[in-house]
Point group: C2
Chain length 255, copies 2
């Protein structure tokens, strides 16, 4: 058996998210189908984490254990899988890793990017690939809002509920560290690229960070009110979740 | 009656080119359908020129004559049309022009861009939007090849036949001027953006210019051989036509 770590990119538009589900049509299902076609037998893969329907990945990582009888070089695995995959899902890199390496448990951090288009009309080349907010976005206020998120905080008000959330979570359950944020203006200022680098992100957390920062950027929330959402932990979660189509899993960081 | 000049962008992937045809599914058909829905009656539009199936436009131009009873500001026309159009076709700008202005006959030049991706694997975000040539493309040779095209030349060997080509064309029939070419490397050198600015381009001409220059870039044709294709006019047309998905009508130039 050999364990290979794959880096894949996908346009999330046509897929029902990463995670395998009955009915298929998820990125994991399509990837496992490609392995199955090559190996003539089923194989499970383990990703660094899920992405939601419509969310994109520039560099999602997953590992797979290749049975002994089916050895190929990582390069050849990349080519063979791409030959079986649709153009919207591509294996970008592959390399062998130790048998105890794990795509999820060994991830030390992640980088996400979020695209906001502020042009009056959304270009057809950004349809499904950016959040269109043509009115009143103050990029300076957005930058200040992102800075508030930096550092170690309890992000419970920026995490959507999922079935597996415990009723009495331990004190550090929602604690995450955002090492840094960036915002770059492209295409003459019409396209804002937000960047989040952190040690981990909870379910829908990046979209909730973006959606709430956007409230600051349009003057509906003050920086102080935003800051209090990281300290007033008894209040409800944010209601502002940016849509999936602007979100890109940009990088998974390993040692 | 008022004549409005519209600038539109489209992702050509799902459409059978610009030009209206039986069976619809062309950009012109969809645009005329949107006018028809708003005006509750048919209206013909006139573009700066056609684009082929799969070819994109960042700024195609067309004009339309709005009947007297249906006046709206150009701004409102833009919004009304976009409300009726799919996300892959967008009206970007609209302005009133004199009644004798014509989107085709008044065009003084055009700018086309062509994207070539030389990365080992084509990113899903470039699928249908660039020509994937992962092997052996020498960007320096490509730059020298494009320079050969600059100036006024008889481009008959770089023009595909169309039904309307006369049997005995006048001497200047294939004469066009390319004012300039550019090539820029993006995404760490993996994406080459070729730019052509000329007074006019014949049917498939840009794709034939790119396809033939690519032969130089992979060492299959010398610069001298390429140059002779603009002077040895009795020989056959080039066989090298780059695919439509890399091509973008970038700008139509008016006085």
């Amino acid at each position: 058996m050999s364990r290979i770590l794959f880096t894949c990119a996908y346009d999330g538009t046509p897929w029902h998210g990463w995670q395998s589900q009955a009915g298929g049509e998820t990125v994991q299902d399509v990837l496992e189908g490609a392995f199955c076609a090559i190996l003539r037998g089923p194989l499970r893969i383990a990703a660094s984490g899920r992405t939601d329907a419509g969310v994109h990945a520039v560099a999602q990582c997953f590992h797979a254990d290749i049975p002994e009888g089916c050895r190929m070089s990582p390069e050849n695995w990349r080519a063979a899988l791409n030959a079986h995959l649709p153009a919207s899902i591509r294996i970008m890199q592959a390399r062998e890793v130790p048998a105890d390496f794990h795509a999820r448990f060994d991830a030390r951090g992640k980088v996400y990017e979020y695209l906001i288009c502020t042009a009056p009309v959304l270009s057809p080349f950004l349809a499904g690939r950016a959040w269109h907010r043509p009115l009143g976005v103050d990029a300076g206020a957005l930058r200040r809002a992102l800075t508030v998120y930096e550092g170690e905080h309890d992000f419970r008000r920026f995490a959507a509920r999922r079935g597996n959330e415990p009723e009495h979570p331990p004190a550090d359950f929602y604690l995450r560290t955002i090492y840094g944020t960036e915002i770059a203006a492209e295409q003459g200022g019409d396209l804002l690229r937000l960047r989040f680098h952190g040690n981990g992100f909870m379910y829908r957390m990046v979209r909730m960070l973006v959606g709430t920062a956007h409230q600051v950027a349009i003057g509906k929330l003050t920086i102080e009110q935003l800051g209090s959402m990281l300290t007033d932990l008894q209040k409800p979660k944010t209601r502002h979740c940016a849509p999936p189509e602007g979100l890109y899993l940009q990088r998974v960081i390993y040692d």
